[in-house]
């Protein structure tokens, strides 16, 4: 029988003290215990990118992170982006450019894009293709996703 452990997680600026199984991933705990269901499970082995979140400024896979190993880290999920219901310009760009269809890959795609823009505020189309190569989408063909990221860059620059 596994032994549950207490872990303090800082998520979207809020601190939570949670009782978790050590084998549980951050993805599982975010979704099941914190009801932050915006982060999705598409494969559970780090390939599809739907579970991408930002931890200490870097894009990581929530499905490959253990909840118990995630203390003292600044965790941001898709739910943490808007302020008082107001979307960030990148989120708005995904809407305006139709960089989404079924929407399942969208949270992960946005988090990866945000992490990219934080590192590199004006990426080229090749930088975008490289950095988002690990976020799989089956609906859009990626063109409008790239358009959305590029238009968000223009908005930020102006």
């Amino acid at each position: 029988m596994t032994n549950k452990q207490i872990v303090k997680l800082e998520v979207n600026g809020d601190t939570h003290e949670l009782l978790v199984q050590p084998t549980q991933t951050l993805l599982h705990v975010l979704r099941e215990q914190l009801q932050l269901t915006g982060t999705k499970c598409g494969c559970n082995n780090g390939v599809c990118g739907s579970c991408t979140i930002i931890v200490d400024g870097q894009a990581v896979r929530a499905c490959l992170s253990l909840a118990v190993a995630s203390s003292e880290k600044e965790i941001t999920t898709i739910e943490g982006l808007e302020e008082n219901g107001k979307l960030q310009s990148l989120q708005q760009a995904f809407i305006d450019k139709q960089g989404l269809q079924c929407g399942f890959c969208t949270p992960g795609m946005i988090m990866s894009s945000l992490a990219l823009l934080a590192k590199n505020p004006s990426p080229s189309i090749d930088d975008i293709r490289e950095d988002l190569s690990g976020n799989l989408c089956r609906c859009t063909g990626y063109v409008k996703i790239a358009d959305a990221v590029m238009s968000a860059i223009e908005v930020e620059q102006s």
Partner: protein, 279 residues
Amino acid sequence: MKYIEALSLQEALEILAGDDEARCLAGGATLVAMMNADLIAPSTLISLRRIEELKGISAVDNYIRIGAMNTHSDVANAEQLLSGNAFVIRDAARQIAHPAIRNMGTIGGSICHADPASDFPGSLVAANAELEIIGTDGLRQIPVQDFFVDYLETSLQEGEVLTAILVPTTHSQAHGRHLKFSRTHGDYATVSVSLVLSMQSDVCNYARVAIGSVAPTPLHLDTVDNILTGSKLNDDVLDDAANLLQEACDPIDDVRGSAEYRRKIIPGLLKRAIAEALG
């Protein structure tokens, strides 16, 4: 399962000594994936994330010392690894999977897993790296090719922890290249070529080549290095080198390609890797 964050190497070693089903947790990129797939169920997981000696990249004696807990991103962006033997390692790191995986996986974790299709093993062999390992008996240092024993098997003994990768600072003017050929961007390599080359005008005066994904461990032949060294790297020489590699390799059929195909493309990829290293 119990989860412990070791505060020192000593603590980690003590726990390992006392529990033979305990595993070390580095970045988790592979370990957690295996747990998710119910492939492993460690009794205790010892996180190495707090151990200072495993972090950082620094110059030590005649080496560049890369702490085992550096992530692939750390290695890919390290300014200390921009030249000489180290460059091929940096080149390999930046091509591993995708950014989110590179931010999580560690060089130590990756090479202890010893997947011959991954990028570090071949590049470390080409870089002539050594590994620093700690056990209850103290530190030992071994050439990296002695570390990779078989598919997913290393010479790390029970109770030991890999602490650092040591890259010799010789051949500071050398060119390096990790050429990775994969089905899709970020996939494991179907075949990879890692090399470090030094030229004296148009003559090669140092060469070290390793081929990945064509055997259970990185394929390195002294005979290949010797054929290239002292030559002008013309086509005949490269063909001879490639033939040796084709004869010695032991690839498998898998979803990324057949054994025959992998063998077939070695010559072309070797030539390409050399051209890219020098170009």
